[in-house]
Amino acid sequence: MDMTALIDSLHPLEIKVLTALKAEQAKAPSGALRDDEISQHASLEASQVSMAIGWLLAKSLIKEQHKTVTPIVSLTKIGERYFEKYSPVERILSAVRDAGQTGKRLTIQDIQSREELEASEMSGAIGTLKKEGAIRIVSGGCVEATGNPSPTAESLRTLLQQLRGTKRELTALAEPLRRVVEQHAVKRGNTNEPFRIDDHVDRWYVLTPEGGTAADLLVQQGPSEEVSQLTPELLKDGSWRTKRFRKYTISLRPPRVLAGKRHPYREFLDLVKHKLVSMGFEEMRGSLVENEFWNMDALYMPQFHPARAIHDVYFVKEPTHARGIAEPFLSQVAAVHRDGGKTGSTGWGYAYDQERARRLVLRSQGTAVSARTLASGPKVPGKYFSIARCFRYDAVDATHACDFFQVEGIVLGPDINFRTLLGLLNLFAVEMAQAKESRFLPAYFPFTEPSVELHVRHPKLNWIELGGAGLFRPEVTLPLGVDVPVIAWGLGLDRMAMVALGIHDIRDLFSTDLDLIRTTRGKF
């Protein structure tokens, strides 16, 4: 590794440790420092030193010169308890001596239950005391004090007092005490002991030759202080010139930023909207609540049409009916339904119900907006679109939403005919779906004739139905006062939107899951 690059990448803690070792090298021939000495010399916390040592070892800038292992004695929890309540050896001895003075005779069981000792504690302690001759077992299994002292009991008391709340090196203890400790220290398989012996390891570190070079270079670079953050103060007084700026490890993951963001589905709809405007379409808007006249009658859907039944459209509870329908549209549409009126059509041939026409419903198709536009004296030639929220009486599931956007519109003009209709659809295929191939299939809509379905080969979805269109029937246009041909078109873009957003359930277009909304990115 390039030494300069290596040095530049060093963390301030690493530099401090290297510098401390370098200084020691200059003072003493061994040049080694123990970790706690490094702490002291470099004015760092033990944890900081341990981190820096780890990094430097990994970079082979320092190495461990040698280590020492020192056994350290301390009290366990049991030891703490023995200090307070005395150890079994002490308690048995004291119980037996007390009994001897009052002339009582105690069996081992008596002692055990009186002192509430475990069987394992009893047997060990009795064994020790017997061996030392401090007690004896007489006939009847009774225990008697001999009057002899118990060195173990005394050593234990001394140790418990000396070690309470502190640690001692094992080697610093007198030989008999050390033996008691070793006998009563926690070992594998026996954790119920008052003492524990831990090995304390001290490590001495020295610079490797590379570390020495690095430290030399650091010294050469001079005492310029390394900083991590450029501050206004550094800029103001110009002191940044004497600082070194630590280089970052830029491959780390950054912390999270919360941003303001458009909704991914709305981004998709915005794109559609702007494409349509760029193609010369003017936006039209309508109302969420419509009457049946504009939602259906004006579109030449007969009042007995199956799609108008109670199970297909949402009816408004209150008020149930609009006050009136504007003339002359009502009379003209009524006539067209009855007998074709002046359109040259036979009409549907049924008794048109004007009451029904006023029934209020939730808009079920965007074409209702087009019908209103036709009746409002639209521009000729004219191109209009709307992205209208519509409502259908469907059980909500992965492919049906209770309300959804319909993208649709109209094109009016004297040059409109079946072939210009196909031309417009071709344009949509290219602009909306980036399709290189498209085909037209005969279709049926109550309000257009001829009617066409536009199928396109989508780059990701293969052949899909992109939309439906047709020329409005004269039964639609003439009663609304339009006497030029009119294209009606609608695009089904939700499947494309779902692919662009990477979702599979139509309900997720209107998701309430903020994490999903925040993390979804549209691939348009």
Partner: protein, 572 residues
């Protein structure tokens, strides 16, 4: 639009040898022909040859069967319509159905014929039942306007009477039952009686068909007799009747049944239907009957609509290829639909059939060339500016459903029984969850908040979207209004933070405003206000009441504001 099942082998047989030579018809081949019938292949079982096809045109019931699809394609392949001579039958028929007086108030019309020498095979019976169901269900609006009955012809002694009787007067054994029942019992007990009984309810007498010996054929339009009205595989001759409320629809339905049966080799024998009073087509109607009339259409009109110059012969050929009778003079084409169709309302219907017959690919697309200027509505422009600003201030945009429930919009917001509790509701809700139109954006944002307590805080949400405001003064009883709603939720969210955002927003919109304290149940008292501009309220701002948050199970302090976009766009 119906979806029907057909069998590929059966289809190939109906298509005839000329079409396919000796090679079997494949599903791919059929699919390529389907544009002729506005059909879409939905499903197929390669092993059994079963195909499911959706037929789009609700005005072409003649296509809702294997026979109908095969016929339309066969005409195109043959270049000529099949001959159905029984429509011109000589007046030698003696079979008669007498219509009793009084039926004009119950179910006025009937048409009938006999299909003789008709071998009822398994597949033929399946198709027969399917077309009967689709026609009665969809075209006949669940038997209301049209229903169809099929009977074993040899069991019937003519003349047959279409009669009206009292429900207790007559007994017969209905299909699916073992013993005789009175008509009243059938209406009360039989599944079909329960399903279709309402069609003839409210009349003292009900319609039946019986023969000269008093044998009941059926309780129309509800259920056939078990003895006469159960067609089985192996039957050789059928009696077919159609009843209904619309004469032309009844006649058309019988015509479709008749040509379907004829296509399978039956010889159709017409029946005279004799009415007590004259109908639009006279007192006696011999059915099947070709009631269509020729129409003359200017060739120029067809050319203009298609945007393509076509010779008179090309138009004539296209129409013949599609089953029409057609003849041309210099400027006009005289057309007549085949008797199994009655969907010619306007000349544009013929235009489409010319295009379909020639194939849509025959017409080269042309771009509309006239210049128009694209533009967005004012409200959309203002909405877009608002959205840009809100995103810049750091808010995440939301889109929500407009349908919601009263508990969400009113109860949870503590608005029940207050001046704010009127909303647009639907009468025929499918579920309470989607039964109202939202009147505010805040409930939509709370719905997101309630579902997102594990999402990294702070939450700053907004939506610009439509709501419906209940408004008795409006013609539709409500107004559709574009609103901006914004919600801030985090551990220390408060009024001041929302106010700062609002202040910035209205500054950039050049909209001077003041806040006026407002006691509103959704907000903490003393921490809510109207946003007034030029003395007019344009919105609300406030810290949501803890009880509102509890109702929504939101555990973060939340503060919101709402603005009516339309009112922001207004300049004074």
């Amino acid at each position: 639009m119906p979806t029907i099942s057909i069998n590929l082998k059966d289809f190939a047989q109906l298509l005839g040898r000329q079409a396919s030579g000796n090679r079997p018809v494949t599903a791919e081949q059929l699919e390529a022909w389907l544009p002729l019938v506005k059909g879409e292949l939905k499903d197929q079982d390669a092993e059994t040859g079963e195909l499911r096809i959706e037929l789009q045109d609700s005005n072409r019931p003649d296509l809702w069967s294997c026979e109908g699809i095969a016929r339309q394609i066969r005409i195109k392949l043959d270049g000529a319509a099949p001959a159905y001579p029984f429509f011109q039958a000589a007046k030698t028929q003696k079979r008669r159905v007498q219509v009793a007086p009084g039926l004009d108030r119950v179910r006025p019309y009937l048409a009938a014929c006999v299909a003789n020498g008709y071998p009822v095979t398994e597949e033929a019976l399946t198709q027969l039942i399917q077309v009967q169901e689709k026609l009665a269900d969809i075209f006949g609006r669940k038997r209301h306007t049209v229903s169809i009955g099929l009977y074993r012809f040899p069991a019937i002694v003519f003349p047959v009477t279409y009669d009206l009787v009292k429900p207790d007067e007559v007994r017969f054994t209905p299909l699916g039952f073992e013993e005789k029942m009175s008509l009243r019992e059938i209406l009360a007990v039989h599944p079909k009686g329960l399903e279709y009984g309402p069609i003839i309810a409210g009349h003292e007498r009900v319609p039946i068909l019986h023969d000269a010996e008093g044998q009941v054929l059926s309780l129309t339009p509800i259920i056939n007799s078990r003895e006469i009205g159960e067609v089985r595989v192996g039957d050789q001759a059928l009696f077919v009747e159609v009843t209904g409320t619309d004469l032309l629809m009844v006649l058309l339905t019988l015509n479709i049944m008749a040509v379907n049966l004829a296509d399978r080799g039956a010889s159709i024998e017409p029946v005279d239907v004799v009415y007590p009073e004259a109908t639009d087509l006279g007192k006696t109607i011999r059915t099947p009957i070709d009631f269509g009339r020729a129409r003359s259409i200017p060739i120029k009109m067809i050319e203009a609509a298609l945007g393509q110059a076509l010779s008179a012969d090309q138009i004539r050929k296209a129409l013949l290829d599609y089953g029409y009778a057609a003849s041309v003079s210099r400027d006009n084409v005289s057309v007549k639909l085949p008797p199994y169709r009655n969907d010619l309302m306007h000349a544009v219907d013929v235009v489409e059939d010319v295009a379909i017959s020639r194939g849509y690919s025959d017409f080269a697309p042309v771009m509309p060339s006239q210049f128009t200027v694209g533009s967005l509505s004012r409200v959309e422009q203002v909405s877009d500016r608002l959205r840009d600003l809100m995103v810049g201030i750091g808010f995440q945009e939301i889109i929500s459903n407009i349908m919601a429930s009263r508990p969400e919009l009113i109860d949870r917001m503590r608005l029940a029984g207050t001046e704010w509790d009127r909303i647009v509701e639907v009468e025929n809700a499918m579920s309470q969850t989607f039964s109202c139109l939202r009147q505010a954006i805040t409930p939509s944002l709370l719905k997101v908040e309630a579902a997102s307590s594990r999402s990294f805080y702070p939450h700053r949400l907004f939506e610009v979207g439509e709501v419906a405001l209940f408004d008795p003064a409006n013609d539709a009883g409500s107004r559709t209004v574009m609103k901006l709603g914004a919600l801030i939720a985090h551990a220390s969210a408060n009024f001041s933070e929302a106010h700062s955002c609002l202040d910035l927003l209205l500054y950039y919109l050049d909209c001077p405003y003041q806040l006026e304290p407002l006691a509103h149940p959704s907000f903490l008292e003393g921490r809510a206000g109207y946003i007034l501009s030029h003395g007019r309220p344009i919105g609300l701002i406030g810290e949501l009441h803890p009880e509102v948050l509890e109702h929504w199970q939101v555990t973060m302090p939340s503060v919101v504001f709402e603005l009516e976009v339309d009112r922001l766009g207004e300049k004074t």
